[in-house]
């Protein structure tokens, strides 16, 4: 277990290093010039060159990357070009909001998706099953900004149950979480359904029935833990998809998280912030996968972490 975790941590560091290199290279190759953004349109060529030298952007690629890595090791993600503050601070101030949104979204999609999948599997072939699967398909295929605007229109504008945007109370959290969760819920519903149908066919389910167990015990004690394993592995991967969705959803709802930060930074070619947010996202994905893999053996004793 310890050895396994040790190995995974080393792997994770390597992954993050790779992500940083690729992102850095992509931003370096970007045709947009950050210095022009900082200096403004009316700046003279000398001013532009000065800023470029100040930021160290005149150095060769690998020197730049090397400097970035060195300061990264001491937890320094650099300074924002535009906002004139430390990227680390910016991200830390924004991260709680995004994490909250992520937790809310995961809870939404698990609650909706797993229930739908479970019910559909148990009632397989019935009208309930078909209705749920059509619903999940709609959830999967509708773009998030459409879902977000629709929810806003119905629940905030028309019904007035939830605020239109902003951050603060649990009421603010509901609509953005739902918007993010509905996409995932569709995936989870489909996955849970097929996984559950698979499990319901197993010999040990027949044994459980032959023992005279109640339906609830059969489904929740015998089937669910077996069926949920692939879903757990999925949650780890899902965090990556979240990071994409968070940019859209935070913009729609005016949610002050790192998604918004990233959005603004991309518009202004604020490279240190883009790098910082990318690395934090990558870290979240790596951590999520690691957690999912670590939880698995507690559900299925056959899985050994080696």
């Amino acid at each position: 277990m310890i050895a396994y975790l040790g190995r995974r941590v080393i792997q994770s560091v390597l992954i993050l290093l790779g992500v940083s290199l690729i992102t850095f290279a992509l931003l370096y190759l970007l045709p947009a010039d950050p210095v022009r953004q900082i200096a403004g349109r009316s700046a003279t060529p000398e001013t532009v060159e000065n800023i470029r030298r100040q930021l160290g952007l005149d150095q060769p690629f690998f020197i730049q990357y090397w400097h970035y890595l060195i300061s990264l090791l001491s937890g320094d993600l650099g300074r924002s070009y535009i906002q004139r503050s430390e990227v680390t601070e910016l991200i830390i101030s924004r991260l709680p909001a995004s994490l909250l949104l992520m937790v809310g979204a995961i809870l939404c999609e698990l609650a909706i998706g797993l229930t739908m999948g479970l019910v559909a599997a148990v009632r397989r072939g019935t009208a309930t099953d078909q209705t749920l699967m059509v619903a999940s398909f709609v959830g999967v295929s509708t773009p998030q900004f459409v879902v977000g605007l629709l929810l806003l229109y119905v629940f905030a504008v028309q019904l007035g149950w939830f605020p239109i945007g902003g951050y603060g109370t649990w009421r603010h959290l509901v609509l953005p979480s739902l918007t993010m969760g509905i996409l995932g819920a569709g995936w989870y519903a489909r996955m849970m359904r097929s996984s559950m149908i698979d499990v319901l066919r197993q010999d040990y389910m027949r044994t459980a029935r032959a023992k005279g167990l109640a339906r609830g015990a059969i489904i929740f004690r015998h089937a669910l833990p077996n069926a949920i394993l692939p879903v757990i592995a999925m949650i780890g991967i899902d965090i990556g998809i979240f990071m994409g969705g968070i940019v859209v959803v935070e913009s729609v709802f005016g949610w002050p998280g790192i998604g918004q930060l990233a959005w603004q930074a991309i518009q202004r070619v604020d490279i240190p912030i883009i790098m910082g947010v990318t690395l934090v996202s990558a870290f979240a994905i790596v951590l999520g996968n690691l957690l999912a893999d670590t939880v698995a053996p507690f559900i299925d004793p056959r899985i050994k972490l080696r």
Partner: protein
Amino acid sequence: MSKGATSKRTGAPAPAVSVTAGPVLEISDLTVSVRGEDGERPVVSDLSFSLARGETLCIAGESGSGKSMTALAIMQLLPQPAARIESGTIRLRDIDRGDIDLAVLDERQMRRIRGDRIAMIFQEPMTSLNPVLSIGRQLVESIEAHTSLSRAEARRRAVEALKAVRIPEAESRLKQFPHELSGGMRQRVMIAMALALKPDVLIADEPTTALDVTVQGEVLELLRDLQREHGTSIILITHDMGVVAEMADCVVIMRHGRMVEQGTAADIFARPQADYTRELLAAVPRIGTGVGRQKSAEQKSVEAEMPGSVAVVNDLHVHFDLRGGFFGQVNRRVHAVEGISFSIAPRETLALVGESGCGKSTTAKALAGLVPYHGDIVIGGRNLAGLGRDQRKAVRRDVQMIFQDPYASLDPRMRVGDLVAEPLLIHGIASKEERGQLVAALFERVGLSADQMELYPHEFSGGQRQRICIARALALRPKLIIADESVSALDVSVQARVLDLLKELQREFGIAYLFISHDMAVVENISDRVAVMYLGQIVEMGTRDQVFSNPRHLYTKRLIEAVPVPDPAKRRPRFARLDQEIPSPTRKIGEDPPKLALKDLGNGHLVAVS
């Protein structure tokens, strides 16, 4: 779980012997039908039988005879929604409430019967226990489902049940998970679970089919002993007439959903009335009755002057490395095959026998080039080790395989004609038209007709599919065919015909067989020479007569003794037993297993000396 009415039991032991007369379970005119594409059709028709207290009733028949459906109908566990009980009654004797007709009970009422009054164990011990719940949890929950015992009392009962099925260290087993136990152990846990509440009836659906023979004996003996102690009535469903003879008081023979014959075990075996029963009994391979083939030494010598052996295996090792530790280095190794040597002459059948995990299939795979190995494999006089890729491929053309599962070994998306032609295509032999003619000829040869070439595998029965596999193996005119449990999945009557076909082909084409099987009776029927494997090594090898008439190694003796004899008169009170479970072939690096030395007892009868 619902309490009240179900909690009629409270820890107090049930009276050991009941004095009720008459049957515990009485089935009359039971018809079960399954809805398929072409409408509803009966899978069990007008079945009637009764089960007396403390009696063992065997339902025997081949696949598709409706025997499992009968069992599931009694438990109301028929596959939903396709199958249903169409008519008939299933009466369970109930002293308190009068007889109950199980056929009309709703799910809720039926749940109280299941596990409590009628328990069931299944064929597949490997998959019948829930992998994510501990043994204890699974035992305790079935006790709790039907009693009002406290958790601690239920646990105590669970330990008792495990002790009753002779599981050592019962207490500590409760914490274990199914994957930590062997197949035999798991089946015992299933039995413990079924018998924990002392049901009136135990339905055992092929309970030993998936187990090795020595383990099978132990499980059968256990069932007999428990029945004697508790007075349980048993319905034993099996295709194995040996098991029937060993266990049954009464026998019901089924075919195509109908009862063919019913009677006491002694009568059925000694004086079978129906033709089908006679055929079924005749098809059963028996050890030591000399139905094996005639020694056709003269016949052979006509063309058997070919020099040398078809295949020579010398000091073959197959290891699988297991990784572990921080850097994932190799720290343990499965010694699947550990230095075995044998040779196969043209027109000869060498049988490799042994129990699961002994390395017999791995040996076959090495020979067919499917796993990496150490040692020498010489085919047709050419050592594979010294050859390049293309040459190896050419040599391997002479070695073909037929696998166990005729359902899984044919690609369902290909026409069977193309499947048989595929080896020719791969090795670039013959033009398209010639291939068509060759394949047609092969189809005719294995007893199929050429116009079936256009069909897909699912349109054939198991026996026919195995014939297709044989045709495919024959396509390249191999010198050696490896048959890995090739008839194990087939019904006895089909099995007998496939074995006959294999023998005919051997006579006709002079093929040698490496015949791998766990079934000693089949091996005796087909083999010229036999090699017995145990833990990756050969413990005894000799001609069929040497090994079967004069087994010298303890393990060989046990293997032969453990086979149930299809004759109720020869029923054994005790089965041969291994002192312990077969140890694991996995060892730490550097700890190589001791190598057995083989001693020649004369005329090539080799026996391991330890």
